[in-house]
């Protein structure tokens, strides 16, 4: 199916599930394929070796695809060889495997765009950048919504509206898939064969989206939080939730697709032959996160919970967009079900 279209290159096409499978299988030769697969109950993003392993109907995953595969949970960023003349820095090689991150939902695609703002800004991170450049993102419009999703309120879903920053967009249209090549590089190297979409297909896509929009259950006003948050940073709901329910376990921020915080620390073996400088996802819910010699800027549990809620729902001035993409993971995986949208609603009352 990688054949050439002699007359006109297709950037959009409707193809059957079988043809989609064959199309994707064709990439395996040059790309490592990562997609949502099986799992007990929950799908998880992992390397797959055949298209059949991919669960196209998955609803969500515990760990987000972008953060997991572009900013690894734990990674070596530098090492030092200990020589008689002193430690000598050695740079680990940059990742260069070509990969396809397949089936990334709209919210998670937006999360990657957010991570880009963090890691490709004034100080680009070489590891993130190398992975990002070598990873083709195949986004997938959602088919179902969960009771915790609120992407519709923050403009990140359920259908992907962003026009760049990813490579391919897939929509399950029932009997066929709508495949849209979005990036310049995708248009250059992938060729598509299939029926070009007509007006009624696009009409149908719109209908599918409208249908989905009816299923959302979360509602809160995402705009206007600014004033409320800053005028009442000590709203009692924060203290009550923090003291009554928050375990400071960090699960919320670990599963959040836009939480980028990490710790940097050195690992030395007893032989002291080589020292590794590592980074690992860190959690602002952890007591020591903001500790300095003179004190702790988030000594109280409520201050830590507030940092999470405000950073996700407010502080748009930081990167020009909200921190949240509405995936609902932090709510789903909080052991006590703390829900940032409920906190916001309470504060807005």
């Amino acid at each position: 199916m990688n054949g050439e279209n002699t007359f006109q290159k297709n950037y959009e096409a409707l193809i059957s599930r079988e043809l989609l499978a064959a199309w994707v299988e064709g990439f395996k030769e040059n790309f490592r394929l990562i997609g949502p697969a099986g799992g007990k109950g929950e799908a998880e993003f992992r390397e797959v070796f055949s298209f059949n392993e991919i669960n196209l109907d998955y609803q969500s995953t515990m760990l987000p695809p972008g953060k997991t595969f572009l900013l690894k949970p734990v990674e070596e960023i530098l090492s030092f060889n200990i020589t008689p003349g002193g430690p000598v820095a050695e740079e680990p090689p940059l990742p260069d495997r070509k990969r396809i991150l397949f089936g990334v939902h709209a919210c998670d695609t937006h999360a990657i765009l957010y991570l880009d703002k963090v890691f490709l800004g004034v100080f680009p991170d070489p590891f993130y950048r190398a992975r990002r450049e070598n990873t083709f993102i195949f986004s997938l419009n959602c088919k179902t919504v969960s009771g915790l999703c609120f992407c519709h309120l923050v403009g990140t879903g359920p259908f992907l509206k962003a026009q760049s920053g990813y490579d391919v967009l897939l929509t399950d249209m029932g009997s066929e898939f709508l495949v849209e090549l979005k990036s310049v590089r995708a248009k250059k190297i992938f060729s598509l064969e299939g029926r070009p979409p007509e007006g009624r297909d696009l009409e149908k896509k719109k209908e599918l989206e409208l249908e989905l929009l009816k299923n959302f259950r979360k509602d809160f006003k995402a705009d206007g939080l600014r004033e409320v948050f800053l005028s009442r940073p000590d709203h009692p709901v924060l203290k009550e939730t923090a003291e009554g329910r928050c375990l400071s376990c960090g699960n919320c921020v670990m599963v959040c697709p836009t939480c980028f915080c990490h710790d940097i620390y050195d690992e030395a073996g007893v032989s002291l032959a080589r020292i590794k400088r590592m980074r690992r996802w860190d959690a602002c819910q952890d007591y020591f996160f903001a500790k300095v010699h003179g004190g702790n800027f988030r000594e109280e549990r409520q201050a830590r919970l507030r940092q999470f809620v405000f950073h996700k729902l407010d502080y748009e001035g930081q990167f020009g967009v909200k921190g949240t993409v509405g995936c609902g993971r932090c709510i789903r995986w909080c052991p006590t079900g703390i829900d940032l949208t409920e906190i916001a609603k309470e504060m807005m009352k």
């Binding site: 515990m62 003291e243 928050c246 375990l247 007893v270 002291l272 690992r280």
Partner: protein, 255 residues
Amino acid sequence: MPFFSGEKRKPRAGFFKFSCCTGCGFELAYFQRSLEDTLKSFDFTFFRLAYSSGALEGPFDLALVEGTVTEPHQAVELKRIRENSAVLYAVGSCAIAGGIPAIKAGGRELEIEKRVYQKKLYRLTSMRPSVLSDYVKVDGCVRGCPPGRRDLEEALVSILLHRRPEFIEYSVCVECKLRGNICLLVDEGLPCMGPVTNAGCGALCPACHRACYSCFGLMSRANIPALKNKFRELGLSGEEIERRFTLFDALRLKK
């Protein structure tokens, strides 16, 4: 001073044991790839599991101490170790939080003796258990039952590098997520102690589909009432909940 610049004398180390299962000592003796390096880098002048002889007197650059203090003579010995050691780390939950030997702290000494030994044993000198820090200054805690490799290594490296150690201080959940385990507490309603337990094990139990039972002890500033509440919602009885929280932390929680 940079650590590689020629210091020739190996640091003298001792490994000491009070009431416990000796698991921490075994962990060090079975230090896999690192054992050889450890013995090369340190002069273990006292380590009963590795060498049958050894001088108890010191002085030591590093004292690693496992076990709970449950007998009067142990307290005396501990103080002597402290006086003769530049750095003393408590190793394992018994030494840090009381661990298994401190389960008895919840009851009356005599009643427990009777229950355990049936008839009166006149030579029994066991007393109320205490953690090391009740008697001496402790410079750091190598948590675990037995400790994780990372913190054990950190303890040794801190001496070799002449710098403060940085032991892991965050929840097991963080490690659990780094490992990608599907959460047992959320997904299956198992009473997992991960959210309040200090990490270091690499979320070993959750990875084997077992709820964490807090063998590394509570992390500092854990929200204990909040997790107890959650367990109550899951249908655990008061006693079941109490047991989960005092299995390794009886002493700390009683305070």
